[in-house]
């Protein structure tokens, strides 16, 4: 008697397409997934608990290690929350530097996503092209703050280092080149028949579902919801610049792809304007008390990280250390829709869908 049976397959924690130590236990009927259970926590380091025994400046390096692909925005959400609590004045030059590095980081982060996503889909070259461009950004960050990934660059009240001589011109040159490179990437990949057939209509959900699951970033905008905290709740200097919020229509992997690619272009636009208006001189640190002691109370601030809404909730009792610190990590929240999307898909689409969500495991597990 011939019969078939479902079998369990452990995808991860060591698997090339889970982008880190993430595990999905899938039940397979042939190659079709009937059930998927994500297992996470392999990279949990207890950042939030550790933070309770650290003063605010000491927490900043920990935020670097949450979303290590986009450390600058993580730095910012923490210092921004503390500054808001303490009502601090930030020098304009410092704020400009922060905005420039955050937008550069967004480009770098999307490039990593683009390269690894295509690697998931089976194209090898885009990965290397993307990383060579990202390398230029990391080099510039290295010049700015002496680190390539974990920058520890921002401080409550400003930034640690001023831009070195000629750095701004370097960024200008990069931004100019990046525009051309982006066109090249579109030529190389965006119209590829195989690529389109792989991602069009895959992993589709509508706006209501996306909001129910609390998705944010390109995962939400791909369904047509106009929600970008840089525009919706402008922080930093974003209200001064002219840029568009990119929204999709169908909420599938293809729209998410287009959203992210267009966001690179919008970041380039912001950078061009910011570099033009960059103040010639000025302080990079505001007037900050020697020991940072926010007044008692609570605050929640949120900003737009490359992956979506990253939030920082601080409960302070007026001490140098937070009483409780909580990060709303977009990768973690966005990942929650995965089991729903995977049911009925094939193994191949699993990789496409997971890659399309764009997670960073350091942030998922925190």
């Amino acid at each position: 008697m011939i019969r078939t049976e479902e079998f369990l397959l452990n995808v991860g924690p060591q698997h090339p397409s889970t982008h880190g130590v993430f595990r999905i236990v899938v039940k397979l009927d042939g190659e079709i997934i009937t059930e998927a259970t994500p297992v996470m926590g392999y990279l949990h380091r207890g950042t939030e608990k550790l933070a309770e025994n650290l003063n605010y400046t000491q927490i900043i390096p920990y935020t670097d290690r949450m979303d290590y692909v986009s450390a600058m925005t993580n730095n910012y959400v923490l210092v921004h929350a503390v500054e808001k609590m303490m009502d601090l004045e930030i020098p304009e030059r410092a704020e400009f530097l922060r905005l420039i590095v955050m937008e550069m980081q967004r480009i770098a982060s999307h490039l990593v996503w683009w390269g690894t996503y295509l690697l998931d889909i089976g194209a090898m070259s885009p990965f290397l092209f993307a990383f060579s461009d990202r390398e230029r950004i990391l080099e510039m960050f290295n010049e700015l703050c002496g680190a390539r990934l974990t920058y520890n660059y921002m401080r409550v009240g400003g930034v640690k280092w001023d831009a070195p001589e000629g750095w701004i011109d370097k960024v200008k040159r990069f931004v100019k080149d990046m525009r051309l490179r982006l066109d090249e990437y579109h030529n190389l990949v965006s119209g590829n028949e195989i690529f389109l057939s792989r991602i069009k209509g895959v992993g589709q959900y509508d706006a209501a579902t996306a909001i129910q699951y609390g998705l944010s970033g390109a995962n939400l905008r791909s369904t047509g919801v106009n929600w970008d905290l840089r525009k919706t709740e402008p922080y930093s200097l974003y209200s001064r610049f002219d840029f568009d919020v990119i929204v999709g229509k169908n909420g599938d992997c293809y729209d998410r792809y287009l959203c992210r690619m267009a966001e690179i272009e919008q970041s380039i636009r912001i950078l061009e304007q910011a570099l033009e208006q960059f103040p010639g001189d000025g302080e990079t640190m505001g007037k900050v008390p020697r020991v940072i002691r926010p007044p008692g109370g609570e605050i929640y601030v949120r900003i737009e990280s490359p992956r979506g809404e990253i939030g920082c909730h601080i409960v302070s009792k007026g001490k140098a250390e937070p009483y409780r610190l909580k990060f709303r990590r977009p990768s973690f929240v966005n990942l929650q829709i995965l089991p729903k999307l995977l049911v009925g898909e094939s193994m191949t689409n699993m990789v496409t869908i997971l890659g399309g969500i764009d997670i960073v495991l350091g942030e998922v597990d925190c």
Binding site: L118, G122, M124, S132, I194, S197, V351
Partner: protein
């Protein structure tokens, strides 16, 4: 001309056969070594990298070092694997891949075995490799390997059909399955070659051939982003080397076949270049095809399983059959080609 294979088998001719086989094996191994080197260099250049450049001058010894490493590695067999089949699979994969090379003519005189069934011999033997891959996937007792093996079986069986049927046009054109006759039917310059009148067959053949080779964009059996490494995930050391070797020997076979069936074999492209010997033309065309395979690998993403099957059965097969029909109609109306 009297060929040595027409003599009755004796110690002398037997010795020539053995020497010839060893010679071909050595040549193929040399090809594989440098095809891998060349592939890594070419793809490196396409990706603004340097490729291997540390082992030996210009990195020329890189593949040699890799092979040495694989041979020296510990040979592991998973405890729960089916031992017999696990050991058998790499051998079963490699032997037919090498045996198919016997019938390839390199010029009008240089050939190891003159087979009248020609192309059918290739199909019959290369099918055995598919079985070996399924065995490897099954015997490893690993779910990823099993999925890879199953995919491979489905893919190679599906693509063998359009592959064979796409060649039928050439066979009808020449009136023979013998490769030397097929090349003879194309004698002349590039406008006499099969790839022009048989353009549909040529396109189908190339696509199906890439799929038979399990190369990008059809490398699903070993799709590293989904199945880690597919059917050979549990293999290490020289057993793994055998699978790699098999893959590249088939690259050699397919590139030779494409040259012979569609690109006029050893015929020069234009009359002005007649003075260059045929064997050089053969290997030039061969090299161009191998280069294109590497080029495709650097460019294209991978297809999905269902799309792959759809392509084989819904697009390639009807096209190949249409090609037969057109060729038949042409021959009926205007007579044979060549």
């Amino acid at each position: 001309m009297q060929h040595f294979w027409d003599h009755p088998l004796s110690w002398g001719t037997g010795g020539i056969f053995v020497a010839g086989a060893v010679g071909v094996l050595a040549f193929v191994l040399l090809f594989v070594t440098y095809a891998i080197y060349f592939e890594r260099k070419v793809i490196g250049w396409m990706q603004f990298r340097r490729g291997p450049n540390r082992t030996g001058p210009l990195g020329l010894l890189q593949s040699v070092a890799d092979v040495a490493k694989l041979l020296l590695k510990e040979d592991t067999i998973p405890a729960k694997a089916d031992r017999g089949l696990f050991i058998l699979a790499p051998v079963l994969a490699f032997v037919p891949s090498f045996a198919v090379l016997a019938f390839i003519p390199y010029s009008s005189h240089l050939q190891f075995a003159d087979l009248n069934i020609g192309f059918l011999y290739y199909i019959a033997l290369s099918g055995v490799t598919t079985i070996a891959i399924v065995i490897a996937g099954w015997a490893s007792n690993n779910k990823y390997a099993l999925l890879g093996g199953m995919r491979s079986a489905a893919q190679m069986i599906s693509y063998e059909v359009p592959l064979v049927i796409s060649v039928v046009g050439c066979v009808m054109w020449a009136g023979s399955l013998n490769l030397r006759d097929i090349v003879a039917a194309q004698s002349g310059y590039f406008w006499h070659w099969n790839f022009l009148p048989q353009i549909v067959g040529f396109a189908v053949f190339v696509i199906a051939a890439i799929s038979e080779l399990n190369r990008t964009p059809f490398d699903l059996p070993e799709a590293e982003s989904e199945l880690v490494a597919g059917y050979h995930v549990e293999y290490s050391g020289f057993r793994f080397a055998f699978f790699m070797l098999t893959e590249y020997v088939y690259v050699y076979a397919i590139a030779s076949l494409t040259t012979l069936l569609f690109l006029g074999g050893w015929n020069p492209p234009i009359p002005q270049l007649d003075f260059i010997p045929g064997i050089i033309w053969f290997f030039l065309k061969f090299a161009v095809i191998v280069f294109c395979l590497f080029w495709i690998r650097a460019t294209l993403p991978r297809l999905r399983v269902d799309q792959l099957m759809g392509l084989a059965w819904k697009v390639l097969l009807p096209l190949a059959i249409l090609n037969i029909f057109i060729t038949a109609a042409y021959i009926q109306l205007w007579g044979m080609g060549g």
